[in-house]
Symmetry: C2
Subunit: 726 residues, 2 copies
């Protein structure tokens, strides 16, 4: 947190643009700082005023003869650049520009924003905004903000930090959480993100000891790869990130474009990143609330087995309905557990899972019994977590339950989640006890199930992506591939050249002979039937010009086919340079997959695998991961496909060699990473998976064109270096 310490906890703040005019952002900031009791020095700035809110008002930033950690700028857009220049002259470290009128408002604004960035880069100022609501550090009463952030109800201090690109909607997240009793540490709205962006803030908050959980709303990021790294760092640190990505649909992305002109990026790649980092995806306000509550105790289920216990059978059913599709299982209880439960559960109840304590159970006279029941269940090895359904239990019963559950749960590392629908207003005693013991209380059994499923998924991802085999990934990904010189040229590769590259990488390819034009094969080593294809860098779609002949069973047929594809190509693609003819063994049987790599502007190389043929297009049975990754992650990808049961021999088919496919994907991903500066795209279609292994039957490697390289985003500043200059 050092990097932004004196931004978020400044010892002094100058606020440029205060006035008595109602609603001015600067004035709002000063009033909030005063109202909420900011302990540092405040320097209001406006040449027209001698005094503001009882404090000396300075004519300019220059005129302040004291050290200033943070300058808040709230003057109209056209005046912002000159104030920024003064901040640079004064060696200010941090500037928040609340004012709008920049990139979002046309060419003049774009130019203004460029100037702001230029000054920031030259001077080392770290700039937040422009066009942002600002930020608040609740624990230290810093309100470098205006609008809703400064209004009542005030947030209470806590350990959740929120970073949001959209001020208005982002603060809705904070308000929803606050209404459910969640406390905050930092709430930061980043606006246009000219310099510091959401990802950089998330990164720095991982190191903030007092932040236990980071919630973020973004519409896009320039650098998805950095988000991946930040996500991995957070996972290693055990600090969950809850990320709401706006603009995941076509219409949403269009709306985002007109909103912040953000590059929304491909949702599929975000989803891949979530899987690889344990970043928890959010798409509802109450999900943030539920997940923040569920994460607070820092307890994670060690298995998908859940015990459900309570006074409402219907609630248990609803829990089961919501839990099953999310991978939770109402586990069997051991014999021992059932024996322990028998004396403390009424006869008309149930001692199997879900445990029916029967209506009215939560009462003073059942306290000891409840404790026995809870301990029995929490000590059951099959039980990974517990949901207790209080349902409509009244205030008195709920208070008893809270006291016992809160106390007992402290002794166990397993998550305990409560469903209660008793109105909060009449249930304050129980809710206070649960809150003190960090036992999350959720308002529906389905939301309790979702929250437990989230905890389970987070733990599983953490285990999987932090283990030995994944740590070796850097090594694998970074290994010095001897990149084929053919890739350096930037030309399109032919099928034969593409397959050579892949074979070299470790992706099995069909057995081929490449003939010169006019040459006839000797078939040495090839097994019939064969396929004949024209080879030309200028003909990417060979079939369309009659450049492919399949199922050739005799030497004569092959020779005839070679002549035919050559003459077809000459006739239908007269301008194409023909590089030769490829004679390949024909793959028969096996399941048709597609695989590939896209070198994305935001995320860098991403690997795809999916069901091939018509189903690829119609069912979109495909999955993605950011390269590089290992065989375990590749296996995860294959396991996700809807067609997965076919690999295991569904309907009496052969069992396919999934491992060979996983190895090929992992190799492909590592090559994609190593070659990211020169390769734009790799398509393997079809890739056949059989009992014998995986084999690429056709492939195309597309190098990065020189044009694309020029369009690459300008390099980001080295912010550490910039800071060091201060």
């Amino acid at each position: 947190m050092n990097k932004f310490k004196y931004l978020l906890e400044p010892r002094s703040i100058a606020v440029v643009g205060v006035s008595d005019e109602p609603g001015r952002p600067g004035s709002q900031a000063v009033r909030a700082l005063l109202k909420y009791g900011y302990a540092g020095r405040i320097f209001p700035v406006n040449p027209k005023y001698a005094e503001f809110e009882g404090m000396t008002c300075y004519p300019s930033v220059e005129a302040i003869n004291e050290p200033i950690d943070l300058v808040i700028i709230g003057v109209p857009a056209k005046g912002v650049v000159s104030v920024m220049e003064m901040c640079a002259a004064k060696s200010v470290s941090y500037v928040v520009v609340l004012s709008g009128g920049f990139r979002e408002s046309g060419p003049e604004g774009v130019e203004r924003e460029r100037q702001l960035l230029e000054i920031a880069r030259k001077s080392g100022i770290r700039l937040i905004g422009p066009n942002c609501l600002g930020f608040a550090s609740i624990h230290s009463n810093v309100y470098a903000a205006f609008g809703s952030i400064t209004r009542e109800p005030r947030l209470t201090p806590g350990s959740v930090s929120l970073v949001t690109q959209s001020g208005g909607f982002g603060y809705s997240i904070a308000l929803s959480c606050a209404e459910a009793g969640v406390g905050f540490r930092h709430v930061i709205a980043t606006g246009n993100e000219t310099d510091v962006d959401t990802v950089e803030f998330i990164d720095s908050l991982i190191d903030d000891e007092r932040t236990s959980c980071i919630v973020a709303y973004i519409e896009g990021t320039r650098d998805g790869r950095r988000l991946l790294e930040v996500g991995r760092r957070a996972l290693a640190a055990g600090k969950p990130i809850l990320l709401w990505k706006g603009g995941i649909t076509e219409q949403g992305a269009r709306a985002a474009e007109s909103h912040t002109a953000s590059m929304t990026g491909t949702y599929d790649f975000y989803k891949a990143m979530y899987k690889q980092t344990g970043i928890v995806e959010i798409s509802e306000l109450h999900e943030v609330v539920d997940y923040v509550k569920a994460l607070a105790p820092g307890k994670y289920p060690q298995s998908n087995g859940v015990a459900v216990m309570g006074v409402s059978g219907g609630s248990a059913i609803v829990f089961a309905d919501a839990g099953e599709p999310r991978g939770l299982s109402l586990c069997e209880l051991t014999e021992v557990t059932q024996q322990r439960l028998a004396p403390v559960v009424p006869n008309i109840g149930a001692i199997h899972n879900p445990i029916d304590l029967t209506a009215g159970y939560f009462s003073e006279q059942n306290k000891e019994k409840l404790e026995v029941a809870l301990r029995a269940v929490l000590e059951d090895e099959n039980v990974g977590s517990l949901c207790v359904n209080l349902a409509t239990t009244g205030a008195a019963g709920s208070a008893v339950a809270a006291e016992v559950i809160g106390r007992v749960s402290r002794d166990y590392p397993k998550p305990v989640v409560i469903f209660s629908s008793t109105p909060a207003a009449s249930n304050s005693e129980a809710l206070a006890v649960f809150a003190a013991d960090k036992v999350p209380v959720l308002p529906s059994p389905s939301r309790a199930a979702n929250a437990i499923a989230m905890l389970l998924k987070y733990r599983t991802t953490r285990e999987c992506h932090l283990d030995q085999s994944n740590n070796r990934l850097d090594e694998l990904g970074g290994r010095a591939y001897q990149l084929p010189s053919i890739l350096q040229a930037g030309n399109v590769l032919s099928e034969a050249e593409s397959k050579d590259v892949l074979a070299d990488v470790g992706v099995p390819i069909t057995k081929d002979i490449l003939l010169n034009i006019g040459e006839m094969p000797n078939f040495f080593g090839l097994t019939f039937p064969l396929v004949v294809k024209i080879v030309s860098r200028d003909i990417p779609h060979k079939s369309e010009i009659g450049g492919v002949k399949v199922g050739l069973r005799t030497a004569e047929a092959v020779e005839a086919a070679i002549k035919e594809v050559t003459s077809n190509a000459r006739r239908l693609a007269p301008k194409a340079t023909l590089d030769g003819v490829l004679v390949s063994e024909m793959v028969s049987g096996g399941y048709e997959l597609i695989a590939g790599v896209v070198n994305d502007e935001v995320f860098g190389p991403v690997v795809m695998v999916g069901a091939g043929g018509i189903y690829a297009e119609i069912l979109k049975d495909v999955t993605f991961r950011l390269a590089p990754f290992d065989v375990r992650t590749a296996t995860e990808m294959l396991d996700e496909l809807k067609c997965r049961p076919i690999f295991d021999g569904a309907r009496g088919g052969a069992v396919l060699d999934v491992n060979s496919a996983a190895r090929a994907l992992a190799s492909l991903s590592q090559f994609a990473w190593a070659s990211r500066d020169v390769v734009q795209e790799i398509d393997i279609n079809p890739m056949f998976l059989s009992a014998m292994g995986v084999i690429a039957a056709d492939a195309l490697v597309v190098p990065k064109s020189l044009v694309k390289a020029e369009q690459a985003p300008c390099p980001r500043p080295d912010s550490e270096a910039a800071l060091a200059e201060n």
Copy 2:
């Protein structure tokens, strides 16, 4: 509502089983009646007491010399039957048994419950429960209930009626709604449903003028067909039913079984029923709240075009993200609308959809502008509904917005939904105005989108299923099919017989010749290639014993195949009676579908269609509808399939004759309905769909066995008749 008028609004109530022992259900009921001001007469019953709560306490029901509309029984289970007998002797119309200890508690309880039902049937008493929380009629202060229903906070009167099988969880629904300001009319927990069940209550509530919307939670129903009819009646009446079905997963169903021993039924068939009746499926507590609010104004979108307007760009993006997968579209605004918006929206805002009013817009000085903007949008022909995002707008701005939006929205038939995240406690003025004008306020943009999507779907279903073509369905379904006599016998049909039945019904079948054993064909009229199959009622799986030969291109090959399948059958199924050999034209090309009928215990005949082959099993690309239905519904089914784009010629394939498939399915459904007493199952697999039409290549019709007929549920009482006797 006449049927249950004096149950739900009784003029006098006897309560059997009152005592000073704490927590007795009967005592709780009496105290609730007194506390909440029930205006009718109350007769407490307990032979040990002379007085209870200051009223005369009667030794028995018989001893009460006044007319009694309703008897509430709360005595322990073993005493319930004799009280019930006294009620019968006294010609009581309605009895609510709160006591547990019946079907849910073992054989003795089953017998007790049987006796209760017997008395009810003989006497004409309508029985609610046993093992239920009872009911409350909020507007008339009737509390025939105990437990949470009688506890504070008291529900406020309103027009939503709730019927629930599970008392505990059902009342959680009521509490969640109440917390959001929703008022109730009747809240009914049905428990074991020995006599009156949820479906019958829903049915009667359709006719309750003061009930505008019915919410129900069920775990199962004995008679899904009746639920279908009730749903259709509610749709015709324009009275939405929100149904939460517990036990839709395997684990949920298992939990339900142990809870109320309900027959949970097949979730796929429930989903079909929702589509055919407009019953709104619920799976979250807040969905009930949101939907009840959204339905209250009785306004439905006439198109999927939504305009989004507000002060938070992020909220509009989140709305779009949630709306798109649910079929909503952020529509283009007309030129005229944009011209009208231009003068009333700030320059830095946006006059296209989503309309950005810019931060701080909702204020006293913008009132007139806001009105112009609202009218412009609501008068746009592309706009079917409007969402206004107040987001974090403060109390003052929200109050202004509420006044204008509430007033303007009254003039338009289009739904207007508000998203506000301002805490309710500090926003009471705005919320009261919105409530008075029935403008639903939802706590997230995604929930606003879901609510609008629900309204759209309800309207679409209503239009589709109430129109002319569907009204003719009864006629179609009820037409006097000449049921083939072969079905009456109850024997398994061979493929040839099954296909004959289907051809007769109107499902195209492959061209066949049925030969006797030993006979050779003359091929008259058949086009090669052909298929040869053994025909025997005793061999349902022909392929397994070598009884099928395909791709036969010559007369010689066919003759050899006939000999081979016959000898294979004789050798491998020596006990089977061979009925002959079927020679069929082989279907080549076309897309492989499966279709069929299941005559379900709960729902009666249900028709299925889906993608065939391995994908049927793995991708479960199938859909269902309850028979009978028309071509339009059949088309809807085909449109739902994931493989649907293939029918339109995806990837350059032929355009398939979808209409012929729809006609075949509609015919199949009408036959399934007409033959429901004799046909148990129909399987058509494969059914090929090509550009030439649809054709059943293999089929099996399974008659209802005599055994099954005996197991059919006993007939339900004619409740109207029973009532007439009173």
